[in-house]
Symmetry: C2
Subunit: 568 residues, 2 copies
């Protein structure tokens, strides 16, 4: 219970965001700083010095910035105050992931590991460093990462003869070994996955979970004999990524393929799951599963003898796929509210908090003890049915203060128990997601609580899914595009698929910022739209060779409905 | 099954060890190189070009260097050929950990995570970089790591304003946050653990698992209100470390405390589990659990108000404890034999291999199919009782060749099944550890196989325990020390506890090397002995104020039996 007394600290928990690099957008910085200062101030007010007497519901412990008012400041306040992360003040752009976060990540890891193991993927661990020699082999691919590579040039006080880079992703680390290990078609498929952290020294403003200079992820790298086998796996993995979002995080996603503009450098095609943030109407890339084709096997010379044509060499077909801690940020943005975090029960470290009520100075020690024992009994009963619960025994806090505190941390279900409940042989409950209240007979705790948690999980998904569905508009007229974006929608539009056309639509939807000093939250967004994906599920309505691309300047015919939007 | 066709590759699997740094001991290098060259040559011979016809038992596929002849070369050959690791030729001192290894590490991780979670330890993830500012706070502690720190000085093509070091361990990364988070005694205990990799840019010769420039480990860092609470945890964790060795890896260890000379820099005391390598009679440190006392809490200013004395500040009591992939190297060294790896069943990725025998050109397709179905049935039956098995269907290999191959990889139990077995309704088995053979009725596979695996696990432990026990000699006379060391023993000796006395005994037992050109395996060892630990289980025989320290030059009385030995 060490974690739950955080509020007794006199210092502010929120901090100014890490100092941004010089190349970052000045405007974004200014805005973020203002927001963070507000958050820091608010957090300061929220804490009371130790020993300042009983905390009551009138003390400000919660979130001070409404989600609708300043979304990015709200987000920063939530992830800090809910104790998900801590800014690593020593070096900008890095974050400490606290136990609540690591519980979510571990849950995802276990779930995903179990599924890929079933598919036959094995775990490996490659070194974190890349030699410049390997980097040279895959110049095109690496070009994108070059500005973000962290270089080790010294060990102790000696300069290294050849500097080494920390992996931003492991293609160049792993594939020389694929070339070594894969000698015959019988060595295929080779399917390895590793869980690690990678470093991309971003120049842009960093944001917890969404853009950080080091992040945790899994990266799968596989090699197959044929294009078909590779393609089958790409989709199997994508479906698992959708499962992480939909089944664990209660976040709906759209499955699709990236356009040529947006695919991973050096791959044949990229598939993706795309999410949607209702608060600002932006799309957000969830996770990607790439078919690399034979591009890397040609660079790294990974070949086998064709089993159908003796003596003929063929280059293997490769995939790579990754899912990072970004998923946690998406979850926070979608479910959180003005009281703080809202956690889906399946990933919450504490699913149920039990809070004693109605116990006060006039309660006899015997009555208190009996009450405590009963509550420990509830906890034991819940544990037997695999429900993770805590009893909040903290003294010196009112029940209402505790309610706020657990709400801030997103605990899905609160159970209150006082003498009145005891008389009626019930516990009172309050759902975090809807605020709904009610009672559960004590005798039915071990069935009703798991049921209620499942209901919460499903309702959270349903609500988010409805919001995404209602804000995914089919648009065929250019003049409807800007109003639809400004109304926080993502759009399905008939699109020709051309990269330059896509660039042009981004320009056309970028608003000139004539009020650079006004915070972004107080004026219409300037950001242009880009493509999010070509959804696998295509609505009807595009007639080949007839339907026009929605870009008014484009002469080409539309190939497919493509999801566009402002995005992260 | 992609992994099991490795032998079809024409290239050698063994490679010369990573190029050693200039400061490494020249002699050790020369020796290791000779050994590695031999291993490389042997490995080359072991592989046959693809399509060179049926492999028979007379092809050399196994280990070519006897364990007793050249232990370190044998070790390198085993970890390479058994596909546990691959040398990372791009950068010296780094290794790729392959699926067989990662399965072992994952098993350890799951087991240990489960136990520390029960104790209330939570998972966290701190950044991999250290600022020079944090480093300055704990100069004494860091001094030991300074020569091995890897420094990032550039991001992209820009120099960092302040270089950052990659963590060699995370005290300096984590403790500033402990100071921030711990404000009241109610925040205690704070118990965090992280699984990650650390970098120590060793100048010495590296060895797979035992000494590598990057390694995987867990590091636990906890803070407590009192010395007693900290001390209790130190021992609880040490017992879990002993459990990893004894219960999972079938490796016996001695629990004890390090001498002043050997304890962790900056801690109050270090507890340790110590192993023993029979082949060369050396001790090896298994894992350590440190009580840091208040040393770090004073450096990092981690204080709370004393709950017993209002207004009085007290510095918290801290522990740190770590277990690394080194454990896997110890396991290989102890159990392996001249045929290769020998894996304890509890950590083996493949516990049982099923090999079809007696199927040849005269077998009808129907008979072959029926045989295959039966064997798949065995596998399914074993899976139901959580036994991990594989059927080796590879064509073009004789059963004997397959036997050798699975023995090389240490698979605990081989089941053979041919027409004669089918007639008798049995499968034939062979144990990897003892070579013992026999039959199991098909109907009893699902009970007898798990039993047999447990027997193998226990027998492996018992054998190693006997060897350690028999080579842990109680010695009270100085003149018996060198002969006992040369006979591959570790010693329990009455010791005064003084650091200088310990240094002197090391000098006295260091042999002058007058044959620098003869490989170490062909002459008596030069290495002096050092203390391994002061075992918690003390034999009788030391009389306070009477028993002499065993060092003939020492005038002090012995305090305790201390385990000394040549060591890793």
């Amino acid at each position: 219970m060490a974690d739950v007394t955080e509020q007794t600290k006199p210092e502010a928990q929120a901090q100014a965001p890490a100092e941004p690099s010089k190349s970052a957008l000045k405007k974004a910085e200014k805005q973020a700083k203002m927001a963070a200062e507000k958050a820091a101030k608010a957090a300061k007010n929220a804490s009371l010095p130790v020993g300042q007497g009983k905390k009551s519901e009138t003390d400000i412990v919660g979130i001070t910035i409404p989600k609708a008012e300043n979304f990015s400041a709200w987000y920063q306040e939530v992830v800090l105050k809910a104790q998900m992360v801590e800014y690593y003040t020593e070096i900008s752009g890095f974050f400490v992931l606290r136990p609540m976060t690591m519980h979510i990540w571990s849950t995802i890891r276990k779930w995903f590991s179990g599924h890929i193991e079933e598919l036959g993927v094995e775990e490996a661990s490659f070194p974190m460093f890349l030699s410049s020699k390997s980097l040279e082999k895959e110049k095109d691919h690496v070009e994108g990462f070059a500005p973000e590579l962290a270089w080790v040039t010294k060990a102790g006080d000696k300069d290294l003869e050849v500097p080494v880079a920390i992996r931003p992703t492991s293609e160049a680390v792993m594939y020389p070994y694929y070339a070594k290990w894969i000698r015959s078609h019988r060595d295929l498929p080779l399917r390895l996955n590793q869980w690690n952290s990678v470093v991309r020294w971003e120049a842009k403003q960093t944001t917890p979970f969404l853009r950080t200079r080091e992040f945790l992820w899994q990266e799968g790298h596989t090699a197959h004999l044929t294009k078909e086998l590779a393609g089958k796996e790409v989709l199997e993995i994508l479906e698992l990524y959708a499962g992480v979002y939909e089944q664990l995080l209660a976040v709906p996603v759209v499955r699709g393929r990236k356009t040529e503009n947006e695919k991973f450098a050096g791959c044949d095609y990229t598939t993706t799951v795309e999410g949607y943030i209702p608060s600002n109407g932006r799309g957000i890339q969830g996770a990607t599963s790439h078919c690399l084709g034979q591009n890397f096997s040609k660079m790294f010379d990974i070949t086998v003898e064709d089993p159908a044509n003796k003596g003929q060499k063929i280059h293997v077909w490769q995939n790579s796929w990754g899912l990072s801690t970004r998923v946690i940020g998406v979850m926070v943005m979608i479910h959180g509210d003005d009281k703080g975090l809202v956690l889906p029960p399946r990933v919450a470290k504490t699913q149920v908090v039990l809070i004693p009520v109605g116990i006060n100075k006039s309660t006899t020690p015997e009555a208190r003890k009996a009450h405590e024992e009963k509550m420990q009994g509830f906890r034991a009963a819940l544990r037997k049915v695999d429900v993770r619960s805590e009893v909040d025994w903290r003294e010196g806090y009112t029940p209402a203060w505790k309610f706020n505190d657990w709400e801030l941390k997103g605990t899905p279900l609160r159970l209150e128990f006082g003498p009145k409940d005891a008389e009626k042989e019930v516990v009172s409950f309050a759902r975090r997601d809807t605020g709904e209240k009610g009672t559960i007979p004590i005798a039915e705790l071990d069935t009703k609580v798991p049921e209620l948690l499942e209901t919460i999980q499903n309702d959270m998904y349903t609500k988010a899914e409805k919001s995404f569905r209602e804000h995914r508009l089919q648009i065929t007229k250019w003049e409807e595009v800007m109003p639809a974006l400004d109304a926080k929608n993502v759009l399905l539009i008939p699109f020709c698929g051309d990269g330059k056309c896509e660039d042009r639509m981004k320009e056309l939807t970028t608003r000139v910022d004539d009020q650079p000093d006004v915070p972004e939250s107080q004026k219409p967004p300037t950001m242009g739209m880009k493509s999010l994906c070509i959804p696998f599920e295509q609505p009807e309505g595009i007639v080949a060779g007839e339907t026009e691309c929605v870009n008014p300047e484009c002469q080409r015919k539309a190939q497919f409905w493509t999801m566009f939007g402002r995005s992260y």
